[in-house]
């Protein structure tokens, strides 16, 4: 079985993103870029499944500009076998990303697709659900545990508001990862060297998916969030309790 992992290059999660003064976007010049953290978990899960002998190839794919090659190389240094870059200089939105990923699925015929649950730049949390819909296959979103049941099915434990939900899906399926699914491995230097020789295929988006459907949502402006008003520091529990009582927050 082949596993396809979809990853996105995003501003590193440790960066405190700033809105540009003119509201045209967020400042990304010179900012550290990384694999979306949920996608790193997706890669790790695919590698573990392969290491258990349940898959024989892990292919990573991204839709993005040519700089995204860095993140694909990192994914291969982690252990992915090969990579596909669907190159475009314009941003894609989830419905369009899902259509492009579907084309790659049609080509690659994976038995399982693993994605992150959410890209931490736009925080959309849509692409995997849309991909599963267009592909007409099951989805198991927000996965914290993935288990093969032996009959070409997966039991997936999902992190939901009420606790942990387990669902069973037939393969092929789309699984989106939550943080507790695993802890991604660190990349070692020799692996980075090795990854340079692994195959990275670049395709042009317009060739892969010449007939993208659906309108893009228009972004009119960016603004910084409302700052909270400055708080006070107190020195004692008594002072704290007095403030809470004044505000009517405790009896």
């Amino acid at each position: 079985m082949k596993i396809l992992v979809a990853i996105k290059r995003v501003v590193d999660y440790n960066v405190r993103v700033q809105v540009k003064p003119d509201g045209s976007g967020v400042a990304t010049d010179g900012v550290k870029m990384s694999i979306n953290p949920f996608d790193e978990i997706a890669i790790e899960e695919a590698l573990r499944i392969k290491e258990q002998g349940k898959a024989d190839e892990v292919v990573v794919v991204t839709i993005g500009n040519s700089d995204s090659q860095q993140q694909l190389r990192t994914a291969m240094a982690m252990g992915a076998d090969r990579a596909v870059l669907v190159e475009t200089d314009s941003a894609v939105q989830p419905l369009q990303a899902a259509q492009v990923l579907l084309k790659i699925i049609e080509e690659e015929q994976p038995g399982l697709v693993i994605t992150g649950k959410q890209a931490i730049d736009d925080d959309n949390n849509q692409t995997p659900q849309m991909l599963a819909t267009l592909w007409n296959r099951p989805q198991a979103t927000f996965a914290s545990q993935v288990e093969f049941t032996g009959d070409n099915k997966l039991n997936v434990t999902r992190e939901v508001d009420a606790g942990l939900e387990t669902i069973q899906v037939e393969l092929p399926a789309v699984v989106s990862t939550d943080l507790r699914l695993n802890e991604p491995r660190f990349v070692k230097l020799p692996d980075i060297m090795k990854a340079k020789r692994k195959p990275l295929e670049t395709k042009v988006l317009a060739d892969v998916a010449p007939d993208l459907q659906g309108q893009m949502i228009e972004v009119l402006s960016h603004e910084a969030p409302q700052p909270r008003s400055k708080g006070v520091m107190v020195e004692s529990v008594d002072e704290l309790i007095n403030i809470l009582k004044d505000k009517g927050l405790v009896g």
Binding site: N125, R158, D161, Q168, V219, R228, L240
Partner: protein
């Protein structure tokens, strides 16, 4: 002319407050008609919904089982009904996030995720980068599919509604997906997402046993309990207590946290809280930058003292 279809959420016994929050958002849109679609096997739930004022019709889709709310099963039904509406909205809870993008894909549109403010029927504000930036977006597709950020809207509290209830059958149950089980770390404490007071603990609490003092303080003041991701990851508390970007986004009147450093992914979850109180032994912890009231000190001394004095 806005016509809104809202996806209702429930736990089998009661309608989730997220539904009343989406209703508030739909009213702000100045909608002409607001209908709600409910998937459940319990007609009592449809009756509950019908009492919310402003709902025209409750479309009750009888399901075999209350757990039969799998996205793959219900999204086609919502999308089919949704064709008659200008807006098809759900809550940005894990339920809504799972289902609504499928509805959007079936209707051929991108979804507006996490609406936090309504400018007009086509223009909305939503957070990106874990709330570090807010964007204003515009879309004029025949259906606007969206999730509503529940922490940004108060629940509609009306009880004098008299919506009509229509019955429908679910003909799109998915063959390839089935529900197995739900295990919840449920407690008798108030629900984290709707509580007016929340007390939470982080890695600084140190262990599952130590969390007892956090629970005790919560019980003393009638608060729900929450936690940082680090506390969940370390196994101190169950995952449904996690607050933040990837946990619950909450807006209680009082949020009091002990031993939480204030990582931006955590702050995303609490920035709509009325009063944030932080107790941390490190005076430089970033949580103090957002706290309304801060106290530097050891939580193992402060909590017992609070227990005594409250």
């Amino acid at each position: 002319m806005s016509k809104v279809l809202i996806l209702a959420e429930h736990n089998g016994d009661t309608i989730n407050q997220s539904t009343a929050k989406v209703l508030t958002a739909a009213k702000q849109l100045g909608a002409d008609t607001i209908d709600v679609v409910l998937f459940a096997n319990n007609a009592e739930l449809a009756a509950q919904l019908a009492t919310l004022a402003g709902i025209n019709e409750v479309k009750f889709v009888a399901s075999a089982d209350n757990h039969d709310q799998l996205a793959a099963s219900i999204a086609p039904a919502i999308a089919e009904m949704g064709k008659d509406y200008s807006h098809v909205w759900g809550p940005s809870t894990t339920f809504g996030k799972d289902v609504m993008p499928r509805v959007a894909a079936l209707l051929g549109v991108n979804q507006v995720s996490d609406i936090m403010e309504i400018i007009d029927a086509n223009t909305f504000k939503r957070p990106i980068y874990a709330g570090n930036a807010i964007i204003t977006v515009k879309t004029d597709t025949p259906q606007i599919v969206a999730t509503v950020r529940t922490a940004s809207f108060a629940a509609d509290k009306s009880t004098d509604g008299n919506a009509t209830v229509s019955e429908h059958a679910l003909s799109t149950a998915a063959e390839h997906t089935s529900f197995v089980e739900l295990s919840s770390g449920n407690s008798d404490r108030p629900d984290l997402q709707t509580a007016s007071k929340v007390i939470s603990g982080g890695r600084g609490v140190g262990s599952e046993e130590n969390f007892e003092i956090v629970y005790n303080l919560a019980d003393k003041i009638g608060a729900a309990t929450g936690a940082s991701r680090a506390a969940v990851d370390a196994g101190y508390v169950p995952n449904d207590m996690q607050v933040g970007q990837t946990g619950k986004i909450i807006a209680p009147d009082l949020y009091m946290c002990f031993g939480i450093s204030g990582a931006i992914q955590h702050l995303t979850g609490i920035k709509d809280a009325g009063t944030i109180v932080a107790i941390n032994k490190d005076g430089d912890a970033p949580i103090f930058e957002v706290a309304d009231v801060g106290l530097v000190g050891d939580l193992f001394k402060i909590i017992p003292e609070m227990m005594e004095k409250l």
